[in-house]
Assembly symmetry: C4
Homo-oligomer: 504 residues x 4
């Protein structure tokens, strides 16, 4: 909104008159915007906006958009002014009747199992899957293309086996560590994920508060549903947070974000490098179609491919030209340690070290970008080996991995192979989508208990004692390819005469 | 039909009297033929012809046969003359009532999803599978024997994984290329497939027109439903087309076809070398039996194995004696670059280069010929290596692959391993079977968008930057064998006492 | 029966009075036997005999027993005499009413598909499975223990892939060969299997007659339902037959059998060496229990383990002491080439050659003996290699394999790896169980057509051109283990909270 | 209970008054205990005790607890005295009505198959699974975490194949052996498992008695439902038994147990080293929740995590500090051979030999401790090789394995790879849970018959002839990972347009 002019006051009735494709005003967070010209450019399609034409769209807008999206995307001339709150009464009186899905969800929430029945992260995910709105579940759980990498991220851990030691005094086991110079109670951190309010109205704040209690570091996402300030404010004084960064085409915006983060006490900068363009996520795309209905679409003769639009629109904000030459500039604007998030081969890990990064996250964006990209843990051994071969100290240059983790034993496997810590994203989101902040607490407790048990049974008293010899990863590179459901779904099975004979 | 004699005019009534096994006339494209003696030789069995005895068989004939089949297969004496169109009225008046299947298909077509809902080639295939007549679906989708190779063609791509690079300026990515000296907007071409009208009345013309719009090369099939001239005429002036060739036992016929193609502007000759005899395709064979009904068959005491007949009949036109010694003759009749389509081992690729071919297509005929033949992409690395070892320039001698491709990422994997381009057949057929020409357009757009995204996420700005180091094919040769449905369908599972106990 | 004494004549009424456990007479093939004392020793349990106490048991006896079993197993004193055929009337008048299963089977036979609809050996098996009595199907199809080897026999072929050659003149392809000096139209033979009449009243004669027509060699089983003489007599004059031999504890019996075979014109002796004791075949064992009913059993307090009895009983006839030292004796009693059937490692193949055998069959008895024995084709490469290393000429010393074959392409793979021919057992039994002799004819035709097509598509004009280079068996030794149904059937799947949530 | 004071006599009425959370008395085996203060510390949660507040809890207590648990866990002051048996009448009169599950179980027991129908250990397990109470089945069958190791224990055997020899005189085969100097009729022993009465009221005594009959050694568990003295007393005079030992934090208790065992004639001491803390067994944990009901739980606001409590409680008795330095002490208190049970890598096997142990059991506690620990048989080859490399005589130092065994052929595979014998646990428990002592007899007979058959078919006349060359374990280390049901249960399959099309 415009900074210096006194804002115009607009009544709800005035807004209500602009409820057509030809003139479309909407209210978001008490401000009125003219989105008529923006309609065809909306990444989510124009139909969803027209649903709120002349009305307050805040509830729909909130979980989907970064807080300032509308302000940033509309020219100042379309920021029409402030809503006359007093005028709203008449509109609000049309008490919104909960939808079928909302009532169903409410019922499910009220009958879900007690939190203590959740005894693994899988359980929290199961509950979330059943109590979340489909749209949120599909958005969070989706992966790229055939979701091969999405699933391989997890199954890779199943190809790493332990070689436990016995007859060691494991009365006491410790698993705290130091990440980028900050203390962490466990070798894990809460990694950045977008649109946190889709699953729960408190969004990312659930993570901030639980992380504080459990001594775990949180990475703040650029595309959070809560604003950066909200998330920082929710943190305790000594709580460590990092910032995940999408570099903007407009470097000034990025510089402003980075400087503000550093001055507010953020302790690390994780630059996402695996998303010069957003990946193709079928489940998410499919949801959009269901939203608008195919019949209307066909009648309207509309041929716009909204899915493409979405990818292109977001690409317009993320800078696909980011490259190694930009490292100098990045280092010039901050003293925070810089970590590249999304490295997928040893060559780039070595380059990151040589360009002065503090570390890398071996990650494929949770399987949401390039399908058939390898999982972080799968390339971890060759990355560690290449860093050593290139004289990089892996004490100072820290290697993280993320993707597919569901148990502390997964993390211990990664630690054995050289990772400093592992990022966990979806499981924590599912935890709060099902049970709010307490769900995240429960997830943290489960992990802590699993760490204690697993280290004891492995015969390791601290993370230092979790050595490469304690795992057998000889099958890590072997073929174990998740099923291709789309291809096999179209394959017509040979049945010979079996069908015929069964009917005799 | 006879060239110089004025054609006799025959009335529909006259034709209608020859409606028995003893004397069987049929009308095709306005000409009348006596097929009585041909009945036992008909590859598809005599029953299907007798169904149209004394009537117009054009509608049934059209999608199944190359346009001139009847003319070529019957001696001139059986070309009885031209139908008196005026006499047809009485026959046509018996308004044909649509069959159950036709009405079902019409219903499905009218309720199928909007084209924009198809967001992958798999979707187009899914729609096609449901809106096509069974016979067409079974013909197109069938593979040889146990369809192991059919499915392995696709799954081989899933054993090739990416090694993506990050921090590269991928603002702009290009994927145009040059194939046999002709421009192509993408590293793919429309490969030849038979009987295009089974899926859509416009048949191969759907491909011609869409290929033109998208700057993609089309390979014209010998066994097209549309005639060569129709397909050439539908092409734009600068549109590149190639010709797929089955060499005829009668070399004069082949020479005529090749010379006509070259003079009409065709830019490449792809000689099919993997089909000295047609493969055994169970789904297709099964359809024929259902067509005629088993009861009648048993009553008639007929023991002819029509399936064998089909293979033998078509073999009689394709020359199984074609061998390396014929290369001299082939090169003598054309200046078009000659590419052998259906090479399945490195030795034959090297021989092709040594015999002056312009390239090879590593192909197993879409899994329709010899089951357990390897997929093209699976042998690609050893072929490239052998060519280099034998001093063959792989710039000049171009290697193509086909079979099993469903995504641009599949193609990029093949390109990384050395392929110049990839042939796509069934997916485009399914596209137009479901949505006509627009379906093919959609398939092309999907592929184009996938190319752009995939290259960007891979960190490659052009096909030159897609190098062997960008893929991990260490599992390409590992065992990953599609399920043997016929064997397992007959296997009686051990159940121990489980069945018994379940009933307690 | 006693040779020299005139037989006593006994009436049906007399027999009918001995219908109890205390005195049990039965009629088999017109002779009367007192089996009272034999009851507890009967391998199949006493109950099944008591069912026919005082009656004619021929129909039940016939398919299960070698023709002379009863004569050989009972002491002469129990051979009571000949039945007075005239006295039978009264018994026969109780017209036997067909059982439920018999009527069901008759219905299935009358509605089964036309033979020409069977387009692969799998189809013939499918029909057989549905039209055979359960007991026969279970007996033929069963394997040892978990049936791992049974299934691995087939799946091993799926780990061998072709490397086809193109551009060879394959106008004419030949696949006749010479086995132990005898002509064979295809590189296969009908191998020996027991109890042929379970599937069809003509039993093994179906095989003899069809083999004659197709120029294929038949191996006559020791445990055939038809007698040796019947099978020899059914052969054409120039038809080649071999004899399969279980060596008897009583070597005189064996010598008599062998000499009779040689003098009657049998051309090869296949000594089974993988069955010193019969394997454990669960499906077959399970059938026996169902036969007698568990309630009666419990009431009777009977604790005899009939399954154990069966194995022990048959072991008492087969000599488990047979060893290499017996080779001298074996060679002394015959000039027929001797082949050891059931060799399962290269060491024994080399020993066989060194002991003067004419060849070996790499076989695990169709997966019916030791589970987890390797398939013949899986050890074929190492056997061929070891023979060469030990200076054995593999022209003279012929290597056969059997087990798991369903297509000519399987056979060609074995030939490529060095096998002279492949034995086929169950598929031919299934063929005649479904369609009698014509079924076997059909199977032979299918194989012949597959040979022709496969050789042509492989680029081989004769078996000589089917070389090791034409197959890729690099995955032959890789793990591909059939599912363990009994173990997994007992495993209780983890479901987490999924079951609970699904019910909300 | 207090040793020297005369016990107070308490009436049932008195007990009945203490039936609340505030004052809770219970009767166990005729003694009265005040458990009020113990309630929050009860590993199984307080709710289950409160169910019996003021009543006799013996029936519930018995199968779950080691006999002296209550005496050991409560301070003497809470041992209130002896129950006045005469006073019980009134309570007992409320004739307990069998629960729904009990009646269902009784019905199942009465209709289960005859024992002779069980022809493999799998069958006994199947029957047990259906006739046992859920709680018992879940306790016995459960494994750690995702039960990957649980299942891998069995599937590892399926990656070991035989290389059978033929033409050996196998008239007689022997498979008796000597374990730690004691005779054993087969190369197997009954290994220790906890809570034997859950499956059958006679508990471990079923094993003792059957083991005696079959010449098999039994290992007595520390956590048996029957007391040590009961189990020793049930043994025959010459029957060999071993003792499984959890070392207590209080070494005096351990010393007392060990000395008592040795003086009573126990012949071997198996120290469990893989359980410094109990593993996480989901099925078992899940049972506890169902027991108490989630609604009550929520109302009560109770947040205690009973599952954690259980692990911690039992950890408080087992000493997690046990280490190699304790070996001197252990050897000082006994002359029995000491074997470490739960070794999981070659390094610890070598250390055990160097510390004077008599052997090791390669074991992962039946897959109940650390998930992704390797199976015993999988590491057997490297253990044997390392022992030889370190100069350890594997005649004197004996290596055992356990876990996953279901057939004698499994055991023979382990013997071929160097194991002296194999421990069998669950299968014998299932056997008696289904059929009592006779079930164990049946299991022993089945194994004995399988040994005889398997050795004969393998061509080995004794265990000495079962050599490493007789097995092919080249795939033993290959990836064959049991399915991850929790992860895949949450995965939302991609279905493309298939669902939509199926509804057209």
């Amino acid at each position: 909104m415009s900074k210096n002019n006194p804002e115009k006051i607009i009544t709800a009735d005035q807004v209500a008159q602009h409820n057509t494709r030809e003139s479309c005003w909407i209210i978001v967070h008490g401000r009125v915007y003219d989105v008529t010209e923006f309609l065809p450019d909306h990444p989510g399609g124009m139909r969803i906006i027209l649903k709120y034409a002349g009305q307050d769209a805040t509830e729909e807008y909130d979980p989907i958009h970064p807080p300032d999206a509308i302000v940033d995307n509309l020219p100042p001339s379309k920021h029409l002014g402030r809503l006359d709150e007093g005028s709203v009464e008449s509109i609000k009186q049309e008490q919104r009747i909960p939808t079928e899905e909302e009532r169903e969800m409410a019922h499910r929430h009220s009958t879900k199992p007690a939190l203590s029945e959740c005894i693994s992260l899988h359980d929290l995910e199961t509950v979330a899957r059943h109590v979340m709105p489909s749209k949120a579940w599909m958005y969070y759980s989706s992966g790229a293309d055939d979701e091969i990498t999405l699933r391989a991220n997890h199954s890779a851990y199943h190809r790493i086996w332990f070689r436990p030691r016995v007859m060691r005094d494991v009365s006491r086991v410790h698993f705290s560590t130091s990440l980028l110079g900050q203390k962490s109670s466990m070798p894990l951190y809460v990694t950045a994920t977008a649109l946190g309010k889709l699953g729960h109205p408190m969004g990312e704040l659930n993570l901030t508060r639980s992380a504080a209690k459990h001594g775990v570091i949180q990475m703040i996402p650029t595309l959070a549903s809560c604003s950066f300030d909200e998330i920082r404010s929710a943190a305790l004084e000594n709580q460590t947070q990092w910032l995940q960064l999408y570099v903007n085409r407009n470097r000034d915006i990025t510089e402003k974000i980075v400087r503000r983060a550093e001055s507010s006490g953020v302790k690390g900068l994780f630059v996402t490098v695996d998303a010069p363009q957003l990946g193709r996520r079928e489940k998410d795309m499919r949801m959009k179609f269901d939203d608008v209905g195919t019949d209307e679409q066909k009648e309207s003769g509309e041929k716009i491919d909204r899915s493409q639009g979405a990818a292109r629109a977001i690409s317009s904000f993320i800078d696909p030209s980011l490259n190694w030459n930009d490292m100098g500039w990045l280092k010039s604007i901050t003293n925070m340690p810089i970590v590249l998030k999304g490295v997928q081969c040893w060559q780039d890990a070595v380059l990151a070290a040589q360009h002065g990064c503090a570390g890398v996250v071996l990650s494929n964006h949770g399987g949401r970008q390039l399908d058939f990209a390898p999982s972080g843990v799968e390339i971890l051994p060759e990355v560690m080996s290449a860093l050593r071969d290139h004289g990089v100290s892996t004490d100072k240059f820290q290697v993280f991995v993320d993707g597919g983790v569901r148990r502390a034993s997964d993390i211990i496997k990664a630690v054995a192979l050289g990772a400093k810590a592992v990022g966990i994203g979806r499981p924590f989101i599912y935890a709060y989508s099902a049970y709010g902040e307490e769900g995240v607490d429960r997830a943290m407790e489960i992990l802590r208990d699993e760490f204690e048990m697993c280290l004891r049974l492995l015969g390791a008293r601290s993370l230092d004692e979790v050595t490469p010899e304690m795992v057998n990863c000889s099958n890590l590179g072997s073929a174990d390819i998740p099923k291709d459901y789309l291809f096999t779904g179209n394959y017509e099975r040979l049945s010979g005469l079996n069908d015929k004979m069964s009917k005799l």
